[in-house]
């Protein structure tokens, strides 16, 4: 039988549909897309696009979960505001960002999406539309359920609305860029930038075909920028050149805030239609940039590496056929002892079978499973993440 895709027009419709599925014990996927990839029915949040409230003076906004991140950023920017969290891909929605815990190069100083959520509502495993948090920037009233939903991967129910606090747009944002071949710049970053505690807005590096493209984001008034540029030029051996946030034609435009807000991984996707893999790693900063052999392993794969060295995460995107068990196993060995994790965001069923979604499993994984069993007693929210051993 063909899988059904249900696209509720409002949160009450969504609640009623989920309650029916719970009563019938019928599992389904939760997705922001409007197609079914397998024989399981899909609840798509793509039509939930209403704005609940927007108070620029209070720096808060609430939206339904199907709002694309790009649209949210546009609304905020029109009022001089931003949510300093970049989507991975151009079509990421607010709900997807929360459920998959997506964040970008700005996390180094300002935190990931978890740090901006002030309220949430979702349909729980008892078919109720429940809420937590509120509309104010600081709130410890009850448990922080919004945090629990970050990274929950649909396991606890479909998200209906998310409330965020936000920040003013950076003043005079500027990107400093360079291209380098060796990994030495990571040492420069550790010793001359981090050790001097220089406040950067973002750092992103892309390694492809044996070469790095590195971007450093700064902002502020003239005196502040002059100082940062001078320090960073010294650290990077005067190899940086500046671009006014991607407005000049440059191969570095993919680093600009405009591009980042449209999904900073989108430019790295192959356009040849070939099947790809996508691995996401999180590693403590010091271990990520301080272990040359780990970095050699990451750059030695036939893949595009997108690295956020401060805050500690990376993405590996490559042709699916090039990823072997041996390569993944090597990566696992290099990650061992770093306190880091590798999530298999997209790969072959065979590799998933061998390695699971997360390498290694977090120590709290049994608690996550218990939480899933308690909050989804009918087992209708299909989320393979919770089904690893």
């Amino acid at each position: 039988m063909k899988a059904v895709v249900f696209q509720p027009e409002n949160t009450e419709e969504m609640r009623a549909w989920v309650a029916e599925r719970i009563a019938a014990g019928s599992p389904f996927h939760i997705s922001s897309r409007s197609r079914a990839d397998d024989d399981l029915d899909v609840l798509s949040t793509s039509h939930l696009q209403a704005e609940q409230f927007f108070e620029p003076d209070d720096m808060v906004i609430g939206v339904e979960s199907g709002v694309p991140m790009v649209q949210l950023q546009e609304r905020l920017a029109a009022k001089g505001m931003t949510l300093p969290v970049s989507p991975w891909f151009a079509d990421d929605t607010v709900g997807q960002m929360v459920a998959a815990n997506r964040f970008g190069p700005e996390r180094m100083d300002r935190g990931g999406i978890r740090d901006w959520i002030i309220g949430i509502s979702y349909v729980n495993g008892f078919g109720k539309l429940v809420k937590a948090g509120g509309r104010v920037v600081k709130n410890v009233t009850g448990y922080d359920v919004g945090k629990l939903m970050v990274g929950s991967r649909g396991g606890f129910g479909p998200i209906a609305t998310v409330n965020f606090k936000m920040m003013p747009l950076p003043v005079n944002p500027l990107g400093l860029y360079c291209g380098l071949e060796s990994n030495h710049w990571l040492k420069w970053l550790a010793e001359d930038v981090l050790a001097k505690r220089l406040p950067l807005d973002w750092v992103q590096a892309v390694h492809r075909k044996g070469a790095w493209r590195i971007g450093l984001g700064i902002s502020g008034n003239e005196a502040r920028q002059d100082r940062l540029i001078a320090e960073l030029q010294r650290a990077f051996d005067h190899q940086l050149h500046k671009a006014d946030e991607g407005r000049e034609p440059s191969e570095y435009n993919r680093f600009s805030s405009e591009t980042r807000q449209k999904g900073f991984l989108s430019p790295t996707l192959p356009d040849d239609g070939e099947a790809r893999y996508h691995l996401h790693g999180v590693v403590p900063t010091g271990h990520l940039i301080g272990r040359p052999r780990l970095m050699e392993c990451l750059t030695g794969l036939d893949a595009t590496l997108v690295l956020h060295p401060v805050g500690g995460d990376f993405h590996l995107i490559g042709r699916l056929e090039s990823l072997t068990e041996e390569k993944l196993d090597r990566l696992r060995r290099h990650l061992a002892g770093t306190g880091g994790y590798l999530t298999l965001e997209q790969t072959s069923p065979e590799l998933l079978e061998s390695f699971g979604y997360s390498i290694p499993l977090p120590s709290e994984y049994p608690l996550m499973q218990r939480m899933k069993q308690t909050l989804d007693p009918a087992g209708v929210f299909h989320a393979p993440f919770y089904e690893m051993v």
Binding site: V136, K138, G155, R224, H287, M371, L375
Partner: protein
């Protein structure tokens, strides 16, 4: 009531006689935390020194169905560590070791009994610090900060405790030892760590905390705006942020507190001012003066009669001492005062403050205000006479009405003190039954039998009438 002899015997076997107490003086001392309005003596107090000892004690309590409550320094203001139902108090001060400062990964691994400020002191030689800085930071512990998701004056720019904790080790109420997070900024899967921080000791007893450390800013500038009206000071707060400036701190002190602070420490605040605004900028030294000048202009445009810039570190420290000791300073005006904690949308500060003052006036109280203006996090202080039964009764009512004013304005019951025992009865005004049941379902994953810190955050239906009786008691020393 003290420990049953057999329980006491087993506890002594695990901990040694020195660390098991149920004498009257101890029971009296632990009858409340810093919220002294709802005292309840414990069955006894234990002082475990290691995780193994704690696990053994918890297993004993679990096996015997004895409820228990973790406690840090007892500085909590919502009654989170009050031992309702004759619970055993588990005092965590012996977990006071800073195990590691990891400079490369900018983390500190500390015991929950480590005092908040001690983390910063240990990290400072490496150019790092622990951001959460509640006013009680000289006394409060990191474990307590985790339990309450504590804030402080600098949360506007940097966030609260949950934003600065990467990992926890904790003992669940059945004695299971679990680890959440680590040194990486996140783990795959749902953010259990984020759920546990701020759960007010109802999920587990934390035995180890991995703190995220932040680079000490190169330069901090502290300014003092002096205003002749609270409304002008409030408008200044909104205008600063509307201009794209996010200071590290934006704190307001009203006339009553100014008076008290001047009596207490003589910070040099003008006694004839209606309000002062403390504005702190933190950044590179280059360009920060220009930012300060922009703030000065905004203050002036809002009728500030004076804008001072702390000339040196000593003057800066004096301003912050005045702010952080403001609660204590109120003691010069009244030996008893009730501290509230509510949050409102920042743009509604002027009208809400007026409502709060009017509310106090209706009951004959002069409500003082010192608060985190940038976050809209209010701390109305209500001086009252603890020997006057009518005053005690009324102060509860004013506190409740103030929170209702905050809720009506679109705010919340607490910004940083927690719900604890104090506000549990008001949760139904914020969350409906489904919302509360959903949260309670989460608690059952960790604390299925409600043995750990019972009666906190959510009202326990079987104890509602009892709570009302306690709240109606008069003459409770504060």
């Amino acid at each position: 009531m003290s420990f049953a002899p057999e329980i006491k015997g087993e506890l002594i076997e695990i901990l040694g006689a020195k660390w098991v107490k149920d004498d009257p003086v101890t029971l009296f001392s632990y009858r409340s935390d810093a919220l002294t309005l709802h005292p309840a003596p414990p069955m006894g107090v234990i002082y475990p020194g290691t995780t193994d000892e704690l696990v053994a004690c918890v297993k004993l309590f679990h096996h015997n169905g004895i409820s228990f409550v973790p406690r840090g320094a007892g500085t909590g203001l919502s009654g989170g560590a009050i031992p309702r139902d004759r619970s055993v108090v588990v005092e965590m001060f012996r977990f006071n070791t800073i195990e590691e400062i990891d400079v490369a990964n900018r983390t500190a691994v500390v015991g929950p009994g480590v005092v908040n400020l001690a983390v910063t002191k240990a990290a400072a030689p490496h150019g790092l610090y622990f951001v959460p800085d509640p006013s009680s930071q000289k006394a409060c512990t990191v474990g307590g900060n985790v339990g309450e998701n504590s804030g402080g004056p600098h949360t506007l720019k940097y966030g609260v405790t949950v934003n600065h904790v990467l990992g926890l080790e904790m003992v669940l109420p059945d004695g299971e030892l679990v680890r959440l997070g680590g040194k990486a900024w996140g783990v795959p899967g749902p953010d259990l760590l984020g759920l546990v921080v701020g759960s007010e000791g109802t999920f587990g007893i934390v035995t180890k905390v991995t703190c995220r450390l932040t680079p000490i800013p190169e330069k901090a500038l502290t300014m003092l705006g002096v205003f002749e009206s609270v409304a002008d000071a409030c408008r200044t707060v909104s205008d600063i942020i509307r201009n794209g400036i996010v200071p590290a701190a934006l704190e307001m002190i009203d006339h009553i507190v100014i008076e008290a602070v001047e009596k207490y420490i003589g910070a040099g605040f003008p006694l004839d001012a209606e309000a002062v605004l403390i504005i702190e900028l933190e950044d590179l030294k280059d360009g920060i003066e220009d930012e300060a000048e922009r703030i000065r202009e905004i203050c002036r445009a809002n009728n500030a009669r004076e804008v001072r810039l702390a000339a040196d570190e000593a003057e800066r420290a004096q301003i912050w001492r005045a702010r952080k000791e403001a609660f204590g300073a109120l003691g010069t005006i009244s030996p008893s005062f009730y501290t509230q904690d509510g949050v409102i949308p920042r743009s509604k500060l002027p009208e809400v403050l007026e409502e709060i003052l009017a509310c106090g006036k209706r009951y004959g109280f002069r409500v003082a205000n010192v608060f985190h203006a940038g976050d809209g996090n209010l701390h109305p202080l209500i001086p009252y006479d603890s020997q006057n039964p009518k005053d005690v009764e009324n102060v509860f009512e004013v506190g409740r009405e103030i929170l209702e004013i905050c809720l009506k304005a679109g705010g919340s019951l607490s910004g940083e003190h927690g719900i604890g025992l104090e506000k549990a009865h008001m949760m139904e005004q914020v969350y409906n039954q489904d919302d509360r049941d959903n949260m309670i379902a989460m608690r059952t994953v960790f604390n299925p039998d409600d043995l750990l810190n019972p009666g906190k955050i959510f009202p326990n239906p079987s104890r509602c009438s009892e709570t009302k009786v306690v709240r109606g008691k008069t003459g409770i020393a504060v």
